[in-house]
């Protein structure tokens, strides 16, 4: 056992041939290890709203293959997911549902607003559409495009990974918008 070896002050053998069964030791801060682990197996919520959802599906299909980032396991239940793609326009009827789904997700959780509609309402500035999903849930990464190309979404995901690894603060709700609402 490695732990015993350390106790008895025995140095582990550095011989490369011993690598297979004898992993070395890496010292790191627990926070860093946790963050690194979280980026390696992030499970998105299987949840789409509109056009962007189709490109979101394309991302985990063979050509773009999101499995490369340990993320192909889409969870249908929000309780098992830790990343939400808001893929599409959020209508006023849908907004409470999105909020409830977000509330049901376990901490820590992240949100990617995919596409212009989720980010700011896109071309639909009218009575039916929420002008950005960040009015109801905090958003960590905004991906532009209408709909964004799959590569753009993957870039957003990698950006989120970087954010998590660096321990940057999470996104916030745009509260100032609430005062302006009629």
């Amino acid at each position: 056992m490695d732990a015993q070896r350390i106790k008895s002050n025995e140095t582990p053998s550095p011989a490369p041939e011993a690598k297979a069964g004898q992993p070395g030791i890496v010292f790191a801060k627990l926070d860093d290890v946790l963050r690194w682990a979280r980026t390696g197996s992030m499970w998105p919520l299987l949840f789409g709203l509109a056009c962007c959802a189709i490109e979101m599906m394309a991302v985990y299909m063979p050509r773009f293959d999101l499995a490369r980032f340990g993320m192909e396991v889409y969870r249908a239940s929000p309780r098992q997911a830790d990343l939400m793609f808001v893929a599409g326009r959020v209508s006023r009827k849908m907004a409470p549902v999105v909020r409830q789904l977000y509330d049901q997700m376990m901490e820590p959780k992240w949100v990617i607003a995919m596409g212009d509609c989720a980010a700011c309402g896109g071309i639909y500035n009218n009575y039916a559409i929420l002008q950005g999903v960040d009015e109801i849930i905090p958003v960590d990464v905004y991906v532009a495009g209408c709909p964004p190309r799959p590569e753009a979404l993957m870039d957003g995901i990698l950006m989120l990974h970087e954010k998590i690894k660096k321990g940057e603060p999470r996104g916030q709700i745009r509260i100032e918008q609430w005062g302006l609402r009629g």
Partner: protein
């Protein structure tokens, strides 16, 4: 005698005083009748053996504020045996905006009347369940009325803050009491469990049925559809769709844009058939302005639309198979879909939202290498289709879960205004590409796959879609040959009132410069009138009704979308099957929620 004239003659004979006005514009006839005669006229049109108007395609309304009578309620009827279309108009005063419901004659009127009630505030008397369908219950006002603001939110740089403060019209009368189903996301929504008898109390005490909420977040509802299920054990007693979770206000937004700028709005309506959306809209405007489309543009439109039909059906078949458990087919279908998207990207620069068609033609000429790319696509698809069929057609699980599930007859489909593959699966030979050809479809040799089984079911719809893809390939092959001959020909009309002049003309022609300036500042200004144009989209009849008042912005644009009508079948066809079958049934209807809710 023309069938339409026969219809009018028969109507005049039977109802001597009812026909207030018969007007014709661009080959479409609108008959104005009084409200009192509506039910009798529609019943006569449907039941008279010589007329046989067997489908109610659409109900919508126009708001002519400040004119009185303020509202036009428009009923669009289709007689498939005679291939005649007739639009009935009922004019209503604003103080008395109600009209009798047609649900007793056409069950398919149900959703349409609820939609008109929701968006215009017109009451349909004797409707079984007249409540909001697209907007949440707590909404005040009816957004498609002209005195209702667009309701947009302020953007940072706005300087017209007074204008954007919504002035709410008087609140609507409180809705009638009805049963509580549950709350979604904290907002209590109530929906009926049956279409015909919503007042029937829930039978829970006697048969121990259970109410289950499916959606709007559910992986198998193909978007944000919510279905209220009443189940007896695993069996469905009732399934009522609750829609509107993706209501985007596209029709209202279009009234605030010039004709050209509205194109991207419609692109995002049915996001699996963007070319069809824009094509139907362009056809309507071209009809309104009497524009000839050059041959090259027509051929390009046909090729792109048929590729998109294949793409849409691929995803329909793939997701249907995935819902039933065959995930492989889904991943294969998306592989082929990427090839189609590459072609779209080649012509327009965008994978999905292409906005490539313009009034009178195309946005730009087809790129070099287009024909080769399409040829490679046409060559690639047939073996892949064979691959799917190898996976599915003899798969016992697939067959057991699709054969005999969700059976319905042609009469039921017609009564519920169902069009497209769902109708052809029930044995009705109806395809707009044959019935009323557009974009030169009459020049192509292809077959319309129609089921001969007698009753449609999930498997039948799948078989129809597979065959339609093969027929689309045939059309594309023929179109490619025609395209070769049109090389170098114009891709857009030379009508300068519709399409901008080419760049080089601006250097030496003052007139061209003026046209260019007018088009990019004001936009096109079609004559006043009401036109309708429809295409056969992968889901059925997709039509655009454009009402113009002679200005550069449309008075109203109405999209008659196939998914909205097809979804009405869900309560009928899912009754008595298992919950597990419901996902297959929803996949069979191939609804796109953007198409349903708009």
């Amino acid at each position: 005698m023309m069938p339409l004239e026969t219809t009018l003659t028969r109507l005049r004979e039977r109802f001597p005083n009812a026909l207030q006005d018969v007007s014709e514009f661009r080959g479409e006839t609108v008959v104005t009748i009084p409200r009192e005669a509506l039910v009798d006229v529609v019943r006569f049109l449907r039941t008279e053996p010589a007329l046989q108007f067997n489908m109610l395609l659409d109900i919508t309304a126009l708001d002519w504020l400040p004119r009185e009578p303020r509202f036009d309620v428009l009923y669009y009827l289709l007689s498939m045996p005679n291939n005649v279309r007739l639009r009935l108009r009922v004019q209503l005063f604003s103080h008395d905006a109600n009209v009798p419901s047609l649900t007793a004659i056409f069950p398919g009127a149900n959703f349409y009347e609820r939609e008109v009630y929701d968006l215009f505030g017109i009451t349909f008397l004797y409707h079984p369940f007249l409540h909001r369908i697209l907007l949440p219950e707590y909404t005040t006002g009816h957004p498609l009325r002209k005195d209702h603001p667009l309701g947009y939110e302020p953007v940072e740089f706005t300087h017209t803050y007074d204008e954007i403060q919504p002035t709410r019209p008087n609140a609507v009368p409180p809705p009638k009491p009805r049963r509580l189903i549950g709350s979604v996301g904290g907002a209590v929504t109530e929906i009926p469990l049956t279409l015909a008898e919503p007042a029937t109390p829930w039978s829970g005490a006697q048969t121990e049925t259970l109410l289950i909420n499916m959606g709007p977040h559910h992986p198998s509802t193909h978007g944000v559809l919510r279905v209220a299920l009443e189940v007896d054990g695993e069996k469905i007693v009732n399934a009522m769709p609750d829609i509107g979770y993706l209501h985007t206000g596209i029709e209202k937004n279009a009234e605030y844009k010039t004709y050209l700028k509205a194109i991207p709005l419609f692109d995002r309506m049915d996001y699996f058939s963007t070319f069809f959306n824009v094509l139907a809209y362009c056809l309507a405007i071209e009809k309104l302005m009497e524009v000839e489309v050059p041959e090259r543009a027509q051929i390009a439109r046909v090729i792109l639309c048929e590729i998109q039909r294949i793409q849409s059906h691929l995803v329909a078949v793939g997701s249907q198979a995935m819902d039933i458990g065959a995930v492989t087919v889904m991943t294969y279908a998306f592989r082929e879909r990427e090839a189609a998207l590459d072609i779209f990207e080649m012509v327009s620069g965008a994978r999905m939202m292409t906005s490539y068609f313009r009034f009178g033609g195309l946005a730009q000429d087809l790129p070099a290498g287009f024909s080769d790319a399409v040829r490679a696509f046409v060559k690639m698809i047939p073996p892949r289709l064979k691959e799917y069929e190898d996976l599915l057609n003899k798969n016992p699980i697939w067959l057991m879960r699709t054969r005999g599930i969700a059976e319905y007859t042609a009469e039921q489909a017609l009564a519920h205004s169902v069009t497209g593959p769902m109708l052809r699966a029930a044995g009705v030979n109806w395809d707009l590409r044959k019935a009323s050809p557009y974009s030169g479809y009459e020049q192509y040799d292809f077959d319309v796959p129609v089921s001969t089984r007698g009753k449609a079911d999930v498997l039948e719809c799948y078989l129809i879609r597979m065959e339609e893809m093969r027929q689309s390939l045939r059309i594309i092959e023929q179109a490619l040959k025609k395209l070769e001959k049109t090389k170098g020909q114009p891709y857009v009309t030379n009508n300068r009132k519709v399409a901008p002049p080419p760049k080089h003309e601006l250097q030496n022609s003052m007139e061209s410069l003026i046209h260019h300036f007018k088009l990019w500042t004001e936009g096109i200004t079609p004559p006043a009138g009401l036109v309708y144009a429809c295409v056969e989209s992968p889901r059925g009849e997709l039509g655009f009704l454009v009402s113009s008042n002679g200005t550069s912005k449309p008075h109203r644009v109405r999209a008659r979308t196939p998914s909205f009508a097809n979804l009405q079948m869900l309560p009928l066809i899912s009754k008595g099957y298992y919950i597990a079958d419901l996902v297959g049934i929803i996949a069979m209807t191939d609804i796109i929620l953007g198409d349903v809710d708009r």
